[in-house]
Amino acid sequence: MNRVFAFLSVLLIAAFALSACAPQAQPTPEKIVETVVVRETQVVEVPKEVQVEKTVEVEKEQTVVRLSGWASSPSETALLESLLYRFSVENPDILVKYEPITGDYKQALLTSIAAGTEPDVYYMDIFWWQELAKNDVLQPLDDLMASSGVKKEDFIPALIDAFTYEGVVYGIPKDFNTLGLFYNKDMFDAAGLEYPTDDWTWDELTIAAEALSDPANNVFGFGVPADPGRFPVFVFQNGGNIMNADFTDTELDSEAAIGAAQFYTDLRAFQIGALPSDLGEGWQGTLFGKGQLAMVYEGGWLIPYLREQFPNTKYGVVMPPAGPGGEGNLIFTVAWGISKNSKNPEAAWRVVDFLTNEASQKTVLESGFALPSRTALKDSDYLKNNPNSAAIFNGSFNGARPFFWGAVGSDVNDQMGKAIERIFKEGQAVADSMKQAAEAVRKALADQ
């Protein structure tokens, strides 16, 4: 018995050793010619393809920085590549290797961290990044920031604070998005309605949704997905919150949250709002483009999507209508983090610093994808000329809170989505459903 095991463990070790000997991608001094397709983006939001051929002389002293992010669309990837190209011109001593991840980004990142092969610099979503900080796999950034004179105050406070854990900054927000009320101009014209304004309230939203709905033809006024990335806006607008200030308890069963759920689910009960799945789609953005939903809450990401998929849909964007409790909105953001395993944190920092400096952020802003995290860009000309993007940028100053619910965030999201779904699909009473969700969140908090 023992002999067999001894024999097998030798075998196992040999196998692992063999796989260890397999040639790792070592940066060797060589001359490589890379062809990079760079799409330069212009103020008019039309990407133009430019073929750039660059010859990179890879020298021994050149530091390699590996960088990863998800690739949500080809044009967004091209935007990042053009920024990185600019960086490589300005910093010839650093070679940035961009390794975009398609598919499940978080899973891929965690697997590479577990294997110890993670990139030096990577995207971190506000929603789960604390998991990384808690497990001590991130490089603290305070000293690095000080080394190049970057201050916390340069960034929108809500954003940089969201990437601070126990007083230490671990991520530099690269950009952000909020939700805007997208409305279909043709449908408003056909119904003889005035276009929405930034001063709208729930009442006007309801009245317009009713006028725009035509259930017999599968056309509805407003999209009400059971989506934890939309519903909280209504809770905020009703004067409530999802979690308490220090994330130790949930407020999903507060009167404000129950009232918000009532309003939200009533929209569908009165057939003036619809779930995307009611209309056979997974995402309300598609239905908005098709003209089956007249109004939806979506972020800046819908702008390039509509441009590419539904170029004929005429639409406008305003800030979400205020509720009885005032304005409310959600902030979605992503930051650059640096791995604690990075052999060259200084070089990695220079990349991060470059990607989040004012010039780079201006490029991002002008692409129309997302909004800059630096306060200095608040008064840029671009926002003055692009009311749709401005509505989404300004949303961040009007009752907006980060899309983050503390350590059990995924449970909170799960429960919120299910609470709404239960009301929709099982006809559960609104208050009961919200209370059930709150109890489940409390249990998750206790189990932490």
Binding site: A15, L110, N135, G280, A407, G409, K418, K425
Partner: protein, 295 residues
């Protein structure tokens, strides 16, 4: 002489290990070690980022007090098994009898029945998602407007129906070969003893098929308890967890949730395996037990 014999023996042993080496390597790495490691993980808190941290039975406590596990995944899995296994066994048995009647076009039927089984679970699921879409073919044929896969009352049954549809062909072939293996002499003997058709069916066919029935039911139970592909593709466990099964929940905990719960998922996997082993053994006892009482 003795040394030569030993040497021959030694050579023989070396040959034995040489021949079994590839299998042994896979077996010890991916089965023996993996099972051991799964047990170890089930007693730990583990999230991929930090090393596993032993916390005893806490993982099991969490699994057994988890609402999703106790009120959805566990009952759903049993419900799925209890509906699918009897139906697919019954249908395939009936089909096998029909095929055993030496009717014409037997080969054609056999090929047609086997078609759903050669189609992969993912492909057949994708096809069913489309067939059962709100504007899909099923609603068009029956002039309905049911959102089958987004309705808590229908989604799970669509998946069950699909599974019965895909497995019955294979199971029918297994039964058919079982039926054809029954020696005709037994039927002749029964006839001599004065048995009518019904009696020879009850007293010859069924007892002779018992091992095959046991096999079909066992395979069905093991498969149903671990159903995953269809759930993943068709509903991702929804709507409202009405199609969340144990394997899907284990996958969700280990690979999907924002806070990765690998230890807890391993505990759930151990529990599921024990359930499967238990049910298989119980079943063997029931089927063999009833066998000895009638014979």
């Amino acid at each position: 002489m003795a040394t030569r014999l030993n040497r021959a023996k030694w050579n023989e042993a070396a040959m034995g290990y040489l021949f079994t080496l590839p299998w042994l390597f896979i077996f010890f790495t991916f089965i023996v070690f993996s099972i051991g490691y799964a047990f170890y993980l089930s007693f730990t808190k583990y999230n991929l980022l930090s090393p596993p941290e032993v916390w005893g039975l806490e993982g099991y406590r969490r699994v057994l007090s988890d609402e999703l596990f106790m009120t959805k995944a566990l009952p759903n899995t049993f419900k799925y098994t209890l509906i699918v296994v009897p139906l697919q066994t019954f249908i395939s048995l009936v089909l096998a009898f029909a095929m055993d009647q030496k009717l014409r076009l037997r080969r054609v039927f056999r090929t047609i029945f086997y078609l759903p089984s050669v189609t992969s679970s993912v492909v057949i699921s994708l096809i069913f998602v489309w067939l059962f879409a709100p504007q899909g073919v099923i609603n068009q044929i029956f002039r309905l407007s049911v959102n089958w896969l987004d309705n808590v009352n229908t989604a799970f049954y669509v998946i069950m129906g699909m599974n019965i549809f895909t497995t019955s062909g294979t199971l029918m072939l297994i039964f058919l070969s079982g039926l054809q293996d029954i020696p005709t002499s037994l039927y002749e003997a029964a006839e001599i003893d004065g048995a009518d058709k019904m009696q020879s069916f009850l007293y010859v066919t069924i007892p002779m098929l018992r091992p095959v029935i046991f096999f079909v039911v066992t395979v069905g139970v093991i498969g149903c308890f671990q159903v995953f592909d269809q759930i993943f593709v068709m509903t991702a466990g929804g709507p409202l967890d009405s199609t969340t099964t144990l394997t899907y929940l284990i996958y969700k905990w280990a690979f999907r949730d924002t806070t990765i719960k690998m230890g807890q998922a391993a505990a759930a996997a151990v529990i599921l395996s024990l359930i499967i082993l238990g049910v298989t053994l119980l079943q063997r006892r029931v089927i063999e037990g009833s066998g000895s009482s009638t014979a």
